[in-house]
């Protein structure tokens, strides 16, 4: 099914978008950017439930396929990717639905129950056909604002195809859940002490990164984790009650930082849902009334000429 026919919008793959999606689905977890896999960073984000590895998709080399340990008898939740635009939501579901005892809203619960026992392909189709899920996914892109699809602008610059893979522990084994593979992939058992599964995940991810030529891989790591705010607030109360002023201050700073981040996400999400056409027009009209539109347009014309001159230069160079 093509992206256009599927009704699934292209969305940004941003922790703020994913966290909002989880909220809509009634899952009390958040997603955060991971800037490092070192032990102290990972420790500070615990409890950690899954890692999302997002990268520019490249077809795997033939030889690497031979040594892959597929678990075709996997009993947890695993869905194949059927629609490209849904890939981020699908990855999040593959990650979240294998977390033991995870809370979820009744609609998601119903969908998961409905797909019990299905093979990955069928489950993927069921997920993609779920209207409530599609609406939750689409809610963070503007309603077909400018009806660009109707204008048939011709082939869009093909955006790079990014792919999502989830690493998560299930029953003492580290699994890799890749919607484009036929089954989850086993990466071995991990110790129940120390860093546990995240240490193994770190190794696996780092090995994967090393298979690409240096500097060629554009990737992003995100973590599905328990929301730290309720715990931090409880801790703050306890510390304040106990008169531990300095410690309380530290916790307060953490809470502040976390709340600032949430507000930034909320700001960006409100823009994502919003059709900007009215605002663009209002700004231009206001600028015209303030007497500044002419100067701005003249400046824009200058920039346009610069772009054209540059393009000419480059075209001339190319022809040599």
């Amino acid at each position: 099914m093509s992206d256009e026919e599927s009704g699934w919008h292209l969305t940004e793959s941003d922790p703020g978008v994913f966290t909002e999606l989880l909220k809509t689905l009634g899952v009390p977890l958040i997603v955060d950017d991971l800037y490092s896999l070192d032990p102290s960073t990972l420790a500070s984000l615990q409890p950690l439930h899954a890692l999302i590895f997002l990268f520019k998709w490249v077809a795997p080399a033939e030889s690497s396929e031979a040594s892959v340990d597929y678990d075709d008898a996997f009993e947890g939740f695993f869905a194949n990717q059927v629609v490209n635009n849904a890939c981020a939501t699908l990855a999040v579901l593959n990650g979240v639905c294998n977390i033991p005892g995870v809370g979820m809203g009744s609609e998601l619960r119903g969908l998961v129950d409905f797909t019990t026992g299905m093979d990955p392909q069928t489950r993927g189709l069921a997920i993609t056909s779920s209207e409530f899920l599609r609406e939750a996914h689409n809610s963070l892109s503007p309603p077909s604002a400018l009806s660009l699809a109707d204008l048939d602008l011709g082939p869009r610059d093909k955006e790079d195809a990014y792919h999502f893979i989830v690493y998560t522990p299930v029953n003492g084994v580290l699994y890799e859940l890749d919607g484009l593979k036929r089954s989850p992939v086993r990466h071995g058992v991990f110790p129940s002490t120390g860093e546990g599964w995240v240490a193994l995940a770190r190794d696996v991810i780092q090995k994967r990164i090393e298979t690409y030529p240096p500097g060629s891989l554009h990737f992003n790591l995100q973590a599905i984790r328990t929301d730290p705010l309720p715990g931090l607030r409880r801790e703050l109360e306890a510390l304040q009650a106990g008169g531990h002023v300095n410690l309380a201050q530290q916790i307060l700073r953490q809470i502040s930082a976390e709340e600032d981040k949430r507000q930034r996400w909320a700001f960006e999400n409100s823009l994502r849902r919003h059709n900007p056409l009215g605002l663009i027009h209002a700004l231009l009209l206001g600028l015209a009334k303030a007497g500044g539109l002419e100067a701005a347009t003249t400046g824009a014309k200058e920039k346009m000429k610069e772009r054209i001159a540059k393009a000419r230069e480059e075209a001339a160079k190319g022809k040599k």
Partner: protein, 301 residues
């Protein structure tokens, strides 16, 4: 810095019939014009002679395109072919006599190859839109200036399946609705709203509380911060808003937003491009100012 008309002759447009390689002539009377615009660039325009409206305006860089006769066809069809893309624009000569067809083509190619082209050095008299005389120049060679035999052969291969269903004395009824290729300019060639809507350009608006308040109702309803110049500036700098502006730039470049702009209280012409959009908004501001100062006699800032 006025625009300078370099060449003009009667020509109609032909359109590829969707799903085929047939090209059908549109009966509309028009003219093909070459101008040096006040941006110093070469513009190739098609103007509708009945309405006087310029319906196509292409900016063409030197050596980027050629104007070639379509061989193996009954009529006087020419194609504007771009070297760097698949764009093809088809035209047919509308002068009753075909005696000047080759001359026009020569001059078009002359200008396309070099905007400083001097038509008096080419075969035939200098072309200008004023010249209405019937003087018949000596016929130029078959290959228009600057076009090699190889390129002609390439063109023949390209259009070998193109045929005209009707002779040009009875232009056909049908023509493809695929007019989109005429309107889509490369992004870099057009004015961009992204360059207009910058924080520094918007300063006159930000420092005018009355006018700024009028923008507030258009902010996202669930914005988690109160509306203010700061929050608006933050919005303008956000990737989400900038992506929206780029989308609008792209959509306006197609020239097809006449329907959409009406919802903003703008006339249809505002949907023809970024320039017309801005012009219409300027006029809208003047009209509103007129209405406002008519209503209250208090001094406005």
């Amino acid at each position: 810095m006025a625009t300078q008309t370099l060449l003009s002759f009667k020509a109609g447009r032909s359109f590829r019939r969707e799903g085929s390689s047939f090209v059908d002539a549109s009966p509309v009377k028009g003219s093909l014009e070459l101008l040096r615009g006040d941006d110093e660039l070469l513009h190739l325009l098609w103007k509708n002679r009945a309405t006087g409206q310029v319906e196509d305006d292409l900016i063409i860089f030197p050596m980027e395109a050629q104007f070639l006769k379509v061989p193996h066809t009954a009529g006087r069809t020419y194609v504007l072919k771009f070297s760097s893309s698949n764009q093809r624009h088809f035209f047919w000569m509308q002068d009753l006599s075909d005696s000047r067809d080759a001359e026009y083509a020569t001059h078009v190619n002359g200008y396309l190859a070099d905007p400083e082209y001097d038509p008096s050095t080419a075969a035939g008299p200098a072309s200008s839109s004023q010249q209405a005389g019937p003087s018949a120049p000596p016929a130029p060679s078959t290959a228009p200036a600057g076009v090699t035999e190889d390129q002609l052969a390439e063109l023949r291969a390209l259009v070998s399946q193109v045929s005209q269903e009707q002779t040009l004395s009875q232009p056909g009824q049908s023509y493809s609705s695929a007019r989109i290729c005429f309107y889509t300019k490369r992004m870099s060639e057009d004015l961009s709203l992204s360059d207009v809507l910058t924080p520094s350009n918007l300063r006159p608006l930000f420092s005018n509380p009355r006018l700024l308040t009028a923008v507030f109702p258009h902010l996202p309803p669930d914005l988690p911060v109160p509306p203010s110049a700061e929050s608006i500036q933050r919005i303008i700098e956000s990737p989400q808003f900038q992506a929206g502006v780029r989308s609008l730039d792209q959509a306006l470049a197609t020239g097809l937003l006449s329907g959409l702009v009406k919802s903003l209280g703008l006339p249809e012409e505002a949907g023809l491009g970024v320039g017309p959009f801005l012009t219409a908004i300027s006029r809208q501001a003047e009209r509103d100012h007129h209405d406002e100062s008519g209503q209250d006699s208090m001094q406005t800032d």
